[in-house]
Symmetry: C2
Amino acid sequence: MLRTPMKWNDLSEEACPVARAMSVIGDRWTLLILRDCLFGFRRFDDIQRRLGITRHVLAERLKKLETAGLLDRRPYQERPVRHEYVPTQAAKDFIPVMQVMIGWANDHLAVNKPSPYKTLMRDTREPIAPKVIDANTGTEITSKTIWVEEND
Amino acid sequence: MLRTPMKWNDLSEEACPVARAMSVIGDRWTLLILRDCLFGFRRFDDIQRRLGITRHVLAERLKKLETAGLLDRRPYQERPVRHEYVPTQAAKDFIPVMQVMIGWANDHLAVNKPSPYKTLMRDTREPIAPKVIDANTGTEITSKTIWVEEND
DNA sequence: ACTATAAGTTCCTATTTGGAACTGAGTCAA
DNA sequence: TTGACTCAGTTCCAAATAGGAACTTATAGT
């Protein structure tokens, strides 16, 4: 399988969905910014202070996430007008991806500090244990149960 | 919630698992390199040509993935010795994360080109439909079914 | 001896990021 | 009504990272 080389800044039209995901969430800091917005930290200075990211990079990333349709910049006060960045449905649909990633990091990149947050099931109030299954068969998706095939 | 600012190159000890994940897979190109290795493209020149990544960056990323315990550099021939990068169990355990991400990208970043590969369930040979559930309750994990709480 | 291959490394240039200072719209307190 | 403060950026320069091309090392094949 030979294919034409990719350019990092032109990944959005790639045929591979992983590459297209990178075009949106692949830049430095972007996923942490998205995490903050999804966890309720939606204002410029809040995010800047929490991450320690330089301000113009944060401004650029927020613009890109807005353009990509993951964040909605909307005023939270008038006089002076101030905006916050609210996750769209596309961003909310990213939550399962992030939770599975959190599960992976907890399993493989453990550290002897407690996480600053915990995720619970809304109904049982028990910590979640994310597991990926195939919606059609109910079988767990692991390296052993799937098969990747080339198209063409 | 105030916290100390992060430094991009010192994320591996962060309390937040998303940040720790970034310390391993957050650099430019890294996730695409991991995708290639997981999909069977494990040799330096193969990966370099497929991605169009500059060679010293690829060398640096492969070293970092090896150090992080995701890839195992092992010889595939002697005379001259040549190495390939084989995914470890930690990398294989990342497959569900990647598949959920692929599902998200297919839903939200569609493009009018067919994917260069397709993922099937090994037993039914049907395309997978990844879904994230809570292993304890069986409930689907979405923005509506979970609850994020601060620790401390 | 000459050509080729794979996996790096080196070097120089271009792009991206970090960090600090500056701006603008407006509030609040003296 | 001046002065200090807040939040959301923007601007500027220096430092770090990435792109691209050439070079290296070990070997095989012709």
